[in-house]
């Protein structure tokens, strides 16, 4: 099981802040993105950008990072604080 969170414009466009993925058999963040993109054309489109940032267990990682079962994975647009 993987908990997936979305923030900011990505949260608004997908219409959800959190989904739980039970059936993920891939390995990396990129695989998880591909898995989520199968949900609908909208998900396909919104998660397609190379600009989507990923954090695994609250740490920024590259899309090549391996996702262990039980992880919290967050996807969000480039940050704009400060």
């Amino acid at each position: 099981m993987i908990k997936v969170l979305f923030f900011a414009v990505l949260r608004e466009r997908l219409g959800t802040s959190e989904v739980v993925v039970q059936d993920f058999h891939g390995s990396t963040v990129a695989d998880l993105i591909q898995h989520l993109q199968q949900r609908s054309p909208k998900w396909q489109q919104e998660l397609a950008s190379q600009d989507v940032l990923a954090a695994v267990n609250q740490q920024l990682v590259s899309h090549a990072h391996v996702v262990e079962a039980g992880s919290e994975v967050a996807f969000f647009p480039p940050v704009t604080g400060g």
């Binding site: 900011a8 969000f76 480039p78 704009t80 400060g82």
Partner: protein
């Protein structure tokens, strides 16, 4: 981390109070502060902004940035405050304060923390204007500002 104060909060902060805390440690003769405020857009019709964040990650990310600064420069007290929620025009958004025995270390560390906060800490701004609401786009200048620290040897 000793002497590191990191707050993510809706409440406002007082720069005078934060300065006094930083200056109160009698070993460090240089104190640099940065404060960022909500300002009018070029278009002139900003009414407010909302700061969203990723609560479980925010303090971790800020702590990691401050730790990296402490590895690069000899620092005394360090304070980072970032507000979240709804902020109106001219409100304070962010405060970074650094004490050091060396003024150039205090300047460099404060700027380093801001540059990485802007590119690595999970905050997002949405602007509310008379024409609607818009998520702020990330600036490539912020990426460039953060990237230049990678090029610098830890010589300061």
């Amino acid at each position: 981390m000793q002497d590191v104060k990191i707050h993510v909060q809706e409440a406002n902060f007082d720069v005078g109070d934060e300065y006094r805390y930083l200056a109160d440690d009698a070993k460090f003769g240089a104190v640099v502060t940065f404060t960022g405020l909500v300002r009018e857009l070029q278009s002139g019709n900003l009414t407010a902004m909302t700061l969203e964040h990723y609560p479980a990650m925010t303090e971790k990310a800020l702590t990691a940035i401050v730790s990296e600064a402490q590895e690069r420069w000899p620092l005394g007290r360090v304070t980072v405050i970032h507000r979240v929620g709804r902020l109106t025009l001219n409100e304070q958004i962010v405060f970074v304060g650094v004490a050091s025995a060396h003024r150039n270390a205090a300047f460099a560390a404060a700027e380093f923390i801001m540059d990485f906060l802007k590119t690595r800490a999970p905050f997002w701004k949405k602007e509310h204007t008379n024409d609607g609401e818009y998520w702020v786009a990330a600036k490539t200048t912020d990426d460039q500002a953060a990237a230049r620290w990678q090029l610098q040897a830890k010589k300061d």
